[in-house]
């Protein structure tokens, strides 16, 4: 091998490299020259056979050649990439639909509500929808035949009544979970979030036959109305936004005393009932939305759950998931039955 050979090799290599048609061809050239069995290594392997004074010169020359070829390949590689980049791809129109499905709004609402309450120590449970009269009514201070039962139009199941627990019903509220939870946990503290389907025998524009309700129950030493307010305000802030406040008005339930109706301030008009530009806020009732009922757990209910009302007090609230969700100002739903729709034109929005 002599200088002339090396020069020829270099010229050939550069000619081939600059003329390479694509990445594959370039790779083949790289292997040919720079690979394990390539030209450079072959030349290097001949160095031991050379005379001493020729070794150094040859070594340097081969190293230079190696460098030149590496540079040429790198340069050509960059050029090939730029060419690949040339052209036009329209990114403004609709792409290919990946076909995502969706989780139902009600599921999202349930998960959001669960997250909010779990952060302050609530345990989420699901109690039965088909339950005995004892849990749905009698243990909640509503004896058989009491007028208060009229408030909840109840579905009865065709099945033999239980000798102790009464008839089998579809529970009209998640409050059937209260005494069940007291029995399950045994001794306070209790912080229950029961989310389950309920049924009421009544269907019109504002009522669904079946809907999901969520029930909170807190029982401990020293629980007061201020704690009920605190938990409700906390929920309102998280669910509807900072600044949304709650309001308690007198009401009556057999299983709570005192009993309340709970309103949340309207986030649309900031609880004033009026809009910034004048005019009435159409979204709410004088600045407030009615969300549902609440109250301090009646001592009879605590006793029925095996808890001493002289030692412990508690509060409870029970609201509809669909209704509570529909009150979010971003949710513009007039007819609550839309949330029960199976029309995919609605659900796929």
């Amino acid at each position: 091998m002599n200088a002339e050979e090396i020069l020829n090799l270099k010229n050939n290599a550069i000619a081939l490299i600059t003329g390479a048609g694509g990445r594959e061809e370039l790779e083949e050239l790289r292997v040919k020259y720079l690979g394990r069995k390539g030209e450079i290594n072959r030349m290097l392997s001949e160095i031991p056979k050379m005379a001493a004074e020729e070794k150094t010169v040859a070594g340097e020359a081969i190293n230079d050649l190696k460098w030149v070829i590496e540079e040429a390949i790198a340069g050509k590689g960059g050029e090939i990439l730029e060419t690949a980049d040339a052209g036009w791809t329209d990114l403004t129109g609709p792409g290919k639909d990946p076909g995502l499905g969706s989780v139902h709004l009600v599921t999202k609402a349930i998960d959001e509500i669960t997250g909010i309450f779990e952060k302050i120590g609530f345990t989420r449970v699901r109690y039965p929808t088909v339950d005995w009269d004892w849990y749905a009514f009698e243990s909640l201070n509503m004896p058989k035949g009491h007028p208060a039962r009229d408030e909840w139009e109840t579905f009865f199941v065709e099945a033999p009544a239980h000798p102790k627990l009464g008839k089998m019903v579809l529970t009209p509220h998640t409050s059937n979970g209260q005494v069940r939870e007291m029995e399950r946990v045994g001794k306070p503290p209790i912080r229950m979030l029961n989310i389950a389907p309920c049924f009421r025998r009544q269907q019109d524009v504002t009522h669904l036959v079946s809907f999901i309700q969520f029930e909170g129950l807190v029982v401990d030493r020293g629980i007061s109305i201020a704690h009920l307010k605190g938990v409700i305000d906390y929920f309102a802030g998280k669910f509807y936004g900072q600044g949304v406040k709650s309001r308690l008005r007198p009401f009556h339930f057999q299983f709570t005393e005192p009993s309340f109706e709970v309103d949340f301030s309207c986030s649309n008009c900031k609880g004033t009932g009026k809009l910034d530009g004048g005019g009435r806020c159409r979204f709410c009732k004088s600045g407030w939305h009615e969300v549902g009922g609440a109250g301090m757990v009646h001592p009879t209910v605590l006793k029925n759950g095996g808890i001493d009302p002289k030692e412990y007090t508690g509060f409870a609230f029970g609201w509809g998931v669909e209704r509570t969700y529909a009150m979010k100002p971003e949710v513009k739903i007039d007819d609550i039955r839309l949330l029960n729709s199976t029309d995919l034109r609605v659900l796929k929005q």
């Binding site: 995502l100 499905g101 969706s102 989780v103 139902h104 599921t107 302050i120 120590g121 345990t123 449970v125 039965p128 929808t129 088909v130 035949g145 007028p147 408030e151 579905f155 009865f156 199941v157 065709e158 033999p160 579809l170 399950r184 946990v185 306070p188 503290p189 209790i190 912080r191 389907p197 025998r201 079946s210 401990d220 020293g222 629980i223 007061s224 109305i225 201020a226 704690h227 307010k229 605190g230 938990v231 305000d233 309001r247 308690l248 008005r249 007198p250 009401f251 009556h252 005393e257 005192p258 009993s259 309340f260 009646h298 001592p299 949330l339 199976t342 029309d343 995919l344 659900l347 796929k348």
Partner: protein, 680 residues
């Protein structure tokens, strides 16, 4: 129940400067719920919701009492015993009363009345209150009921046979025609009045009889004010579906002390409006009414409920303003010394109109707190220990599964749990039992049974959405499985996916989901009810049957008018939850490079690729994975990756494995063959 109160009428009892809208607002915050305040001409009308426990508010006076306390103005008219003292006998009426049915019976005779329209102002107010003015006699009874919450009846005295009244239980089969013209056959046990001629002249507490009603010809009026046994009134009223205002009031046990004063007031009105002359003797027969018992309330209890925010003196003042008689309970001191200042609590005796609704200490707390002002309470998150009481229902796992299904392209549905009889009767949908629970009082035929499967809802939705096909929908929800007598049904969770997309898609999705859940799956081809033959199977995991998969049968498809084939995956989700692993582990990547071989097989009809792949894996321990790269008619190409943990495999070793596998396959599956050399 709601009551309409004209503002002008309220002002007969309440002295106030406040405007109606403000009154409505403040009442709602501290007392009865005023649903609306609407302007009617020069007047305003309050539409007030009265709760079942506070029947004392179902009257103008009742609302005035509340307003007087809440607005801190004095009420004008107090309902006190006035007029002539009642006697147990009178000369104009002979009575025989069953006191169990009627604890207080009062009547007064007003003679020589002139029946004509009531004064215009009275008619106007009655109309605004929702009553239809008829004449000055009938209007008197409606006026009194509305003003005082005490139902009142008026008889034409001369139509009472023998001027005799027997108040008794009805017998089964007795008939009565009430003054609205309806005739009822009684079940027995209802409270009725029989006159001296043996006719039933009153369905007590509900509606008077037509045969004793007042007309324009009436000369003498018997004014009639009672208290009845609430339970019987409710029973009769519900049975006969006569939910009159009187019945709805009586069944809630109104104030017995109102009877005397209302009777006296009624006599005055009749004299005024009808120019009649009242007899001096007034009848009033009642049981001994025991004095109301005081209710004890400890300050400790009130302080707990009310966050120590309400001063004790203020609490006592509020109760007094509501009509309670309040005594302090002194804390006993050693040595009998007197104590000043702090007491243990109070005893509060409710006024007669509250005695039926306010019975225990928490009832007192409610009265104190609402008047003091619910808006003034602090807002505190409870600070006690956090209960660690997870029941182990793994509800978070359901949310994750739903998100997974959504990412796989399925839209979640919530379908109604109530289904029709025909849906339940359809022979066992994929394992569902067809003895579903039936409702005793369904709202309609479509919603008579509790579902035992999610298929109906999903296929129904696919039918509804036919113009949008192909669609993929799912539901994760409970179905209701009947258990033994005296047992509640099992509310078993199922995850059901239904899609128009082809089998390999849903099969792949099942395998992906199982992988996410950390469970193995294997499908065994077998006949499944309501799925097409040869296109169905049971899904196993850990040798347990965990669900079914397959194409919906033509018969079911026809029933739902579906044209495009539907594939269904229906899993017992409660079982999946049990088997799923919460914690998944990771294995390190293989140390050596895999060598990949493509193997093409020609399969016989009805071949089960799953079994073939299992056999291949059993034959060679060096198989890292087997994927299907191509499947066309009866040819399948599998890409088999070989690898070893101990060393880098060579091509020769892999070839040997491949030969062994092919030899085994051809032996075990005689129908399987290899492509001829030269075919590729």
């Amino acid at each position: 129940m709601n009551i309409l109160i004209p503002h002008s009428w309220l002002l007969d009892y309440l002295k106030t400067e406040a405007k109606p809208e403000e009154i409505g607002r403040r009442l709602s915050l501290a007392g009865p719920s005023v649903e609306s305040v609407s302007r009617q001409g020069n007047d305003w009308v309050y539409d007030i919701e009265v709760t079942t426990n506070r029947i004392d508010m179902y009257s103008v006076l009742g609302i005035a009492r509340e307003a007087a306390v809440i607005l801190k103005t004095s009420s004008l008219v107090r309902l006190t015993a006035a007029g002539a003292r009642g006697r147990t006998t009178v000369d104009y009426l002979k009575v025989k009363i069953d006191k169990r049915l009627c604890p207080r019976f009062a009547a007064a005779l007003v003679e020589n009345v002139k029946v004509k329209p009531s004064p215009l102002e009275v008619q106007r107010q009655l109309t605004l209150a929702g009553h239809r003015p008829i004449n000055n006699i009938v209007d008197t009874s409606n006026y009194l009921m509305h003003a005082y919450g005490q139902p009142v009846h008026v008889f034409d005295y001369d139509r009472i046979g023998g001027h005799k009244m027997i108040l008794r239980e009805s017998w089964k089969g007795e008939k009565i025609t009430t003054l609205d013209g309806k005739t009822f056959t009684l079940a027995g046990g209802d409270i009725v009045i029989e006159d001296g001629k043996g006719k039933l002249i009153d369905l007590c507490g509900i509606m008077g009889g037509a045969n004793s009603a007042v007309s324009e010809k009436t000369k003498n009026v018997l004014l009639f004010v009672q208290k009845y046994d609430p339970k019987r009134i409710r029973k009769t009223s519900l049975k006969l579906q006569q939910r009159t205002a009187a019945a709805q009031i009586f069944e809630k046990d109104p104030d017995v002390e109102a009877v005397g004063p209302v009777l006296a007031e009624g006599v005055k009105l009749l004299e005024n409006w009808a120019k009649g002359k009242a007899r001096k003797q007034v009848l009033d027969i009642s049981e001994n009414r025991p004095a109301a018992s005081p209710i004890s309330l400890s300050w400790e209890m009130m302080d707990t409920y009310l966050n120590h925010q309400v001063k004790h003196e203020e609490a006592a003042e509020i109760l007094t303003s509501l009509g309670f008689r309040v005594n302090e309970i002194a804390t006993p001191r050693r040595g009998g010394a007197r104590n000043d200042g702090d007491n243990e609590g109070i005893e509060a005796t409710p006024p007669s109109w509250l005695a039926n609704g306010i019975k225990i200490d928490v009832d007192l707390i409610e009265e104190i707190a609402r008047i003091w002002g619910y808006g003034k309470f602090e807002s505190l998150i409870p600070e006690g220990r956090i209960p660690l009481t997870d029941p182990g229902q793994k509800l978070w796992f359901e949310s994750e599964a739903k998100i997974l299904a959504a990412h796989l392209g399925y839209t979640e549905l919530y379908t109604t749990p109530l289904v029709s009889a025909s849906e339940i009767a359809t022979p066992r949908r994929g394992g569902a039992r067809n003895d579903g629970l039936r409702l005793a009082n369904p709202l309609s035929e479509d919603w008579e049974y509790l579902r035992t499967s999610l298929w109906g809802g999903l296929l129904g939705a696919m039918k509804q959405n036919k113009p949008l096909a192909p669609v993929s929908v799912f539901e994760l929800a409970p179905v209701f499985l009947k258990k033994g007598d005296h047992e509640l049904p099992e509310e078993r969770l199922r995850l059901t996916l239904a899609t128009h997309r082809p089998a390999e898609v849903i099969l792949g999705q099942l395998q992906s989901m199982a992988n996410e859940w950390g469970i193995d799956t294997r499908v065994e081809m077998t006949e499944v009810d309501n799925l097409a033959d040869g296109k169905s199977g049971v899904v196993y995991s850990n040798k347990l049957a965990v669900g079914i998969i397959g194409q919906v049968s033509g018969e079911i498809m026809a029933g739902y008018e579906l044209d495009l084939p539907v594939w269904i995956l229906d899993l017992d989700f409660d079982l999946v939850k049990k088997l799923a692993k919460k914690t998944l582990s990771l294995n390190p990547a293989p140390k050596f490079s895999a060598i990949s071989e493509d193997i093409t097989l020609i399969l016989p009809p009805k071949a089960m690729l799953g079994a073939i792949i299992e056999t291949m894996k059993k034959k060679s321990a060096l198989i890292q994975s087997i994927k299907v790269v191509d499947r066309w008619e009866n040819t399948v190409t599998l890409r088999v990756e070989f690898n070893s943990e101990d060393k880098q495999l060579t091509q020769e070793e892999v070839n040997k494995q491949k030969e062994a596998i092919l030899a085994a396959l051809v032996l075990v599956f005689p129908g399987v063959s290899l492509p001829r050399q030269g075919d590729s």
